[in-house]
């Protein structure tokens, strides 16, 4: 198991969905050596999931 814990009140479904969205964003930019804007996209995904 991970050494860190998820934030209180965040369930496993949310964690899986967030991870899937992040990996999908990575896959969409996989062809780029420097995937421009990926950090902004990941930040936006987490902001959207953790409100």
């Amino acid at each position: 198991m991970s050494q860190t814990d998820p934030p209180d009140g965040v369930d496993e479904a949310t964690i899986r969905r967030t991870m899937r969205r992040i990996l999908q964003a990575e896959e969409d930019k996989l062809h780029m050596d420097l995937p421009r804007g990926i950090n902004d996209e990941i930040e936006a995904i987490i902001e959207d999931e953790i409100r």
Binding site: E27, H31, I46
Partner: protein, 673 residues
Amino acid sequence: MELDRLELRNFRQFYGEQSIDFSQHANENVTVIHGSNGSGKTTILNAFLWLFYGDVTLPKPDQIVSERAMAEVGASGTVDVEVRLSFTHDGIDYTASRSKTVRRNRSSDFTGTEVNSDLHLEFIDEAGNRKVRGNANDALRQIMPERLREIFFFDGETIDELSAIGGQEKIQTAIQNIMGLTILERGKRHLEAVRKRFEEEVSKHGSDELSELYEERNDLEDQKASLTEELSNTRDSKEKTLDELENVERRLSELEDSRDLQQERERLEGEVEDLSEELKAINREIADRISKAGYVPFAAPAVEETAKMLREKREKGEIPSEIKTQFVDDLLEMRECICGRELVPETEPYQNVQQWREAAGSSELEEAAMNIASRLTEIGEEEEQVYDDINELLQQRSQVADDIQQKEERISEISSLLEDTDTEDINRLEARRKELDQQVSDYDQQIGTVRGRIEDLEEELEEIKDQIDEVQEQNKKADLARRRAQMAEYLRDRIDELFQKYQDEVRKSVNERVNNIFRDIIAKDYYAEIDDDYSLRILKDIGSEETIPVAKSTGERQVASLSFIASLVSLARERYHSDEESIYFSGGIYPMIMDSPFGYLDPEYQKRVSSVLPEMAEQVVVLVTQSQWTSEVAGEMDAVAGNRYHLEYHDPSEEPSVEYEYTEIVPENRGGR
């Protein structure tokens, strides 16, 4: 990706329009293209590179256009060059084309200057309609990642580099990309960057200020409570003093010797109170008058000056003008002066009347000037009225102040008279009355001071409350950012765990596959392995399950490299066809396009490679020299080669009728297949 057809137009030595159809049969998945050295095999490999990535790895890389085509158009003519590929990817039919038009600058110019270029990608949608895919460059790189170009489009001359020193990075990149580890590796790296962003946000918004503000607010509230109590006590004391004062004054009114003076004093005190109110009302009226019309005296000099200017203009008759513009216009329009003379344009009388037009006044301007003059007169009159009003109010105020002073002097005198009477009781009462009166005055001052301090405290409390609200809002943001940073950190760790676990699995399965393929080809007791540093090593079995690294020949290195590529392509194909779902590794179909794969292999290895490779990939394209198309290779590949082509090179040094070299792609007759 499954290749369908490659079309070349004037690409390097492939003059005119030529094409290759790739075999797509399951049991005949090999397309063989053979030709002599220099006939253009590597150019065909480079046609793929040019289409997907826009460059070539050939000598004279800028010279993309066929020399023969350039020669035919003459100086300043243009030639179109194009590579077009039809293929299927993830069940969708695509056609990609890269084209360029170049202008020939002079007869010795075979490179030309680019006039225009285009990269185009079309696909057939579910309804069967042909559509253009936006951002073709990105889309093609998604289909065939550029960092894997050496894997998918490999050159047999250099392929053994994979197993040489320095090949680790290429191997690691290939494994991580094809097996989906790159997504995980990037995911954890980017999540770390995002976690830092959220933590910066926590530092920006979070602080210990709130507890300090709460402490400050409590302190101020304590001070306010204490002052409120002090105010209440002082008011009580004042009330008691007033009661006693009233009793003393009542007693003075009752005593015969002091009655008249006391009553007079009470009357005078009542009058002083009324007059004080009157004085306040006068002061308010003065302030009101100054605030409303106070500007008038200050503006008076400018107003007077302007009024004087306008007066002078009126006196000179400039305002209002005697002649109106419209009147002059009418005369000119009617072509007749008031004297009856005819006004013909360009004549002197006409011009004389026209000059009056310039002297005539605008009616709007004149009206505005008259209005200003009238308003300035009003302001002037108002100034006198302001002075009169304020003077009268000042006189009233002076009179009231005098009255108050007289009455207060008399009140003071009464007090002295009462103190000086012969009756000891009255003396004592008056002394006490003065003392109490002073106490009331002191209490009033004290009450005023305390009230002022309470008001100040209330203002401070209001400010602290606003600050607390703001900090609480900031703390909410900090809490949210903290939760988000925690989420990013948690996801980073989970993805890292996944990466570590999956990396081991991937290395194990790639290792197993590489070794199996390698051992199918190599006859000796050798093993191939990818170690923890991603080095592709060849080991020798020395018994007791012990192995030692061995020095590798070029041929063995080539076999190891081919085994590695074949293992990746076959694992990706296996994964693509499996039902297991995974976002980071869905596998894929990749063709193996090999230029001179048998270069350094002895006949036995050639035979085995030819036997093994077609089974590893969905589609194999082999570009070989005539000399490599040995009986061993042909014997294995002939049965699985669905399509075969021969490159027919036309060499000017050998064919007198040929001025510029070119190559023809000639399909070979496969007995009706």
